[in-house]
């Protein structure tokens, strides 16, 4: 049995998270030691029978203000610092490599943009930001890789995202952190961080069929989407080229960003977000496409969405 006291660091954010952790730890130890020393000192000095002068101190607003405000300022500093890091932690870089993750009782299913699929494993290149677009087929799961210091709940019915840049080659455990039923503790996978060249080789070796966007394109036709969403269609439906990543003006006056979640919602609940100038005529595809097909459609829409001026 080995005793592990400190977690390893294997992502770009891990060192800065740890600095924050140890800073807060130091502050906490300071407070705890301070109070403990005071308690022990008073307990000994003012034990019954000890010959010592005792003053009746029952209220000193200045003392109270001092020992309230100084720690408050320090700890609030930590709070803001942690908030800043949190925003970084959940704002993926624009050029991040998208990877699609579907959780289900009790496994992780992963699809890469090139069409490579894996179960309970995730191969990523070292040094490249990776953005995870995740959803669940059943209950809530949570994607947790301790050496990366990231965790994100994987929620059915919506996409959640997380990102990381791995900084060390090797294999790291991927845990499900949200209780999800019988084999929750077996829902463990591995993140395999590879040297970029080795990663490219791995992608080649695991190529099976077409890329995700190409598969999505096929679905787009076979499900009949292209019947309406195309330039030569007689139906008045928005064209989807160049939409992804841009702003969409809705009938109700709102403006939304056309991200993964918007595409997903538009397929499953088309009536909820009508684009300005169009009629609510699209039927819902709920029940006709599963989570993995949805991700392929999203990948396809994304692939035709890249346009000057759009921000992913």
């Amino acid at each position: 049995m080995s005793l592990k006291l400190i977690p390893e660091q294997a992502s770009s954010v891990a060192p800065s998270i740890d600095v924050l952790f140890y800073t807060l730890l130091a502050l906490s130890v300071l407070v705890i030691v301070g109070v403990t020393v005071a308690i022990v000192w008073f307990s000994v000095r003012y034990r019954r029978g000890a010959a010592v002068e005792r003053k009746d101190v029952v209220r000193r607003p200045r003392w109270e203000l001092t020992w309230t405000l100084i720690p408050l300022a320090l700890f609030l500093g930590v709070c803001v610092w942690a908030g800043k890091l949190y925003f970084d932690l959940y704002t993926p870089p624009r050029d991040a490599l998208p990877v699609y993750v579907v959780g289900k009782q009790w496994m992780w299913k992963v699809q890469h943009p090139g069409g490579q699929r894996e179960i309970n494993q995730l191969h990523v290149p070292r040094g490249t930001p990776v953005k995870l677009i995740m959803t669940s087929e059943d209950v809530i799961h949570s994607f947790f890789v301790p050496p990366f210091r990231i965790k994100q709940d994987v929620v059915p019915g919506r996409y959640t995202t997380a990102w990381f840049t791995a900084t060390r080659d090797g294999e790291f455990e991927l845990f499900c952190a949200e209780f999800c039923g019988t084999d929750h503790s077996k829902m463990i996978g591995r993140v395999v961080v590879m040297e970029p060249q080795a990663y490219q080789r791995w992608l080649q070796d695991n190529l099976s069929g077409k890329g995700l966007a190409a598969q999505g394109s096929e679905l787009f036709r076979s499900l009949g989407c292209s019947g309406c969403h195309s330039a030569n269609s007689s139906v008045h439906a928005p064209l989807l080229e160049g939409v992804f990543g841009g702003q969409v003006h809705l009938q109700n006056g709102e403006t939304v960003v056309a991200n993964e979640r918007y595409i997903r919602d538009s397929i499953l609940q088309p009536a909820s977000q009508i684009v300005a100038g169009y009629q609510p005529i699209m039927p819902s595809f709920k029940g006709q496409v599963d989570e993995e097909q949805l991700l392929k459609l999203v990948a396809y829409i994304q692939s035709i969405g890249v346009r000057e001026g759009n921000q992913p």
């Binding site: 308690i39 003012y46 209220r59 000193r60 965790k151 503790s185």
Partner: protein, 538 residues
């Protein structure tokens, strides 16, 4: 101590002896004891589940019980400990017994409602234990959807009914306390002369009345979705799983303060008594209690930083969670300052109270780690969280509960327990507790997820330590049960006020008469009018 000690013949025990007289009693003191008996039973049921959990986790493979059984054990442990032990623990036992006496009243405002509360509590508890025999529940005490509503194959609805029922006992007790404190204070007992124990239970009662109905509604919605397929939380039915978390934590975070505020009240009484000092900054302490109760309602989202809720919401909840630490910190500092210039002795209740401060402090600062957004991402849903809330609820609330039972035992029973044994148990519990839960901070920091039946081998050493600590803790909990029972018959007679404590409850004989006071007391002084030896008033 007074030289002549005799037992009060006209006491609430002697007034009638039959079982029927106990089951139909409207005396707040007897009802407090009925509650004490019931919650002790549930505490040991919950502890039994904890013992099995710790035995399973001694090895990293899941080799003692099957996974489903393990999941049911920690669910049972959580459900029983939260709703059938911690929430009612101090208010329903010590609160019931003491609040009327502390404010100089003969009983609570609604004695019948008080008895009804105990029946409802016991009914709900038996119902929940029954579900255990029918196969149990495997959702954890948090009932997260859509797992609980659509996927679990266990007795979710029955368990929810049990929790739903017990909620009414909380509400009844709380209503009773609120009205009692408002309307039944003795002449001269102004608000700022109330003992902090009364303030704490008053604030707790307000939380109970406001939050418990939300829990009842939320759990009802889970049951409706499960039974009738009405889509509220399951996205495949058009629901939103995060809505459940918002509603659940809107109750369950304030519930943490339901569990810890009364403990703070107990500790204030004990420390003032054994330091022979007025509580430092009495008014600040009272306002801190109200502050915790108020702000506690606005921090629920800190349970959801990785759930996918908005980052901006996360920021607001994080700041509010840091702010709720202010009144908690003030309380710790003021207890410490109360010791300054005191005349301190270290009887068993004082050891529990000092232990409370230490453990509550550690639980409190680790709460800040979890309130800090970027750190919570790594730490949430790991054993760090498990350690954190056990420091607050077990280290804090149970230490104070047992300390309070010791402190008022002479008043309740008229007898003294064995002081050396009591001190020994207090120290044993403190050591056992730290050995059990401190290693869990380290395991959590290293990424060990909670609710794992089997776990990676690298965490085994820490878990062995934890299980070893739990066995010490078990001895520490069983010992008081034995010597307190023993003292009922064989303990020395205590007399009215063995600790020379202030407070109206100590002016009554031990055990108190059925009506508490022979004549209505008139209060002329502040709470905690203690005088340390050799003090120079300055």
């Amino acid at each position: 101590m007074s030289a002549v000690v005799s037992v009060n013949a006209n006491n609430y025990f002697n007034v009638a002896h039959s079982l029927r007289s106990w089951l139909t009693t409207k005396d707040h003191k007897r009802i407090g004891l009925l509650y004490l008996a019931s919650i002790t039973v549930f505490f040991f049921i919950g502890s039994l589940a904890a013992a099995l959990i710790r035995m399973e986790l001694v090895t990293h493979t899941g080799d003692l019980v099957p996974a489903d059984t393990y999941n049911k054990l920690f669910s049972l442990h959580g459900v029983i400990m939260v709703w059938f032990f911690l929430v009612p623990s101090i208010p329903a036992t010590l609160g019931n017994f003491l609040i009327p006496m502390m404010i100089g009243a003969n009983d609570v405002a609604f004695p019948r409602l008080n008895l009804a509360s105990w029946y409802i509590y016991t009914l709900g508890g038996l119902f929940t234990v029954l579900t255990m025999f029918l196969g149990g529940v495997d959702t954890g005490w948090t009932f997260y959807t859509p797992f609980s509503s659509m996927f679990s194959n266990s007795n979710v609805v029955l368990t929810i009914v049990g929790v739903f029922i017990v909620g009414f006992s909380s509400i009844f007790t709380a209503l009773n306390f609120i009205v009692t404190v408002h309307k039944m204070r003795a002449p001269g007992m102004r608000w700022f002369r109330l003992p902090l124990f009364v303030w704490a239970n008053y604030a707790t009662s307000i939380i109970m009345v406001l939050a418990t109905p939300v829990l009842a509604m939320t759990l009802s919605l889970v049951a409706l979705e499960r039974l009738l397929g009405i889509g509220v939380f399951d996205p495949s039915l058009g629901g939103d799983p995060l809505l459940f978390q918002h509603l659940f934590w809107f109750y369950s975070h304030p519930a943490v303060y339901i569990m810890v505020l009364p403990a703070m009240g107990v500790v204030s009484e004990i420390i003032a008594c054994f330091a022979r000092k007025r509580v430092f900054g009495y008014k600040t302490m009272a306002f801190a209690i109200l502050g915790i109760a108020g702000v506690g309602f606005m921090v629920w989202g800190h349970h959801m930083f990785v759930s996918g809720q908005s980052m901006y919401a996360g920021m607001v909840f994080s700041i509010l969670s840091f702010l709720v630490a202010i009144p908690s910190a003030i309380k710790v500092f003021n207890w410490t300052a109360t010791l300054y210039g005191g005349s301190i002795t270290f009887e068993a209740p004082m050891l529990y109270a000092l232990g409370f401060i230490g453990l509550f402090m550690l639980g409190g600062v680790t709460g800040l780690f979890l309130a800090a957004l970027a750190l919570d991402v790594h730490l949430t849903d790991t054993y760090f969280v498990v350690a954190h809330f056990h420091y607050i609820m077990v280290g804090g609330s149970i230490m104070a509960f047992i300390g309070g039972i010791h402190f008022w035992w002479p008043k309740i029973t008229g007898r003294l327990y064995s002081e050396p044994l009591a001190r020994f148990s207090a120290i044993l519990i403190f050591i056992g507790f730290n050995l059990t839960f401190f290693p869990q901070y380290i395991a959590g920091f290293n990424g060990m997820p909670r609710r794992y039946h089997s776990y990676p081998a690298e965490f085994e050493a820490l878990n062995v330590l934890s299980s070893a600590g739990a066995s010490i803790l078990a001895v520490g909990y069983i010992l008081p049960l034995l010597y307190l029972f023993w003292s009922l018959r064989h303990g020395r007679l205590a007399g009215a006020n063995p600790w020379q404590a202030t407070g109206l409850e100590w002016t009554t004989p031990s055990p108190p008469s059925p009506d508490n006071f022979e004549s209505r007391p008139i209060v002329t002084e502040e709470a905690y009018n203690y005088q340390p030896e050799g003090e120079s008033r300055g």
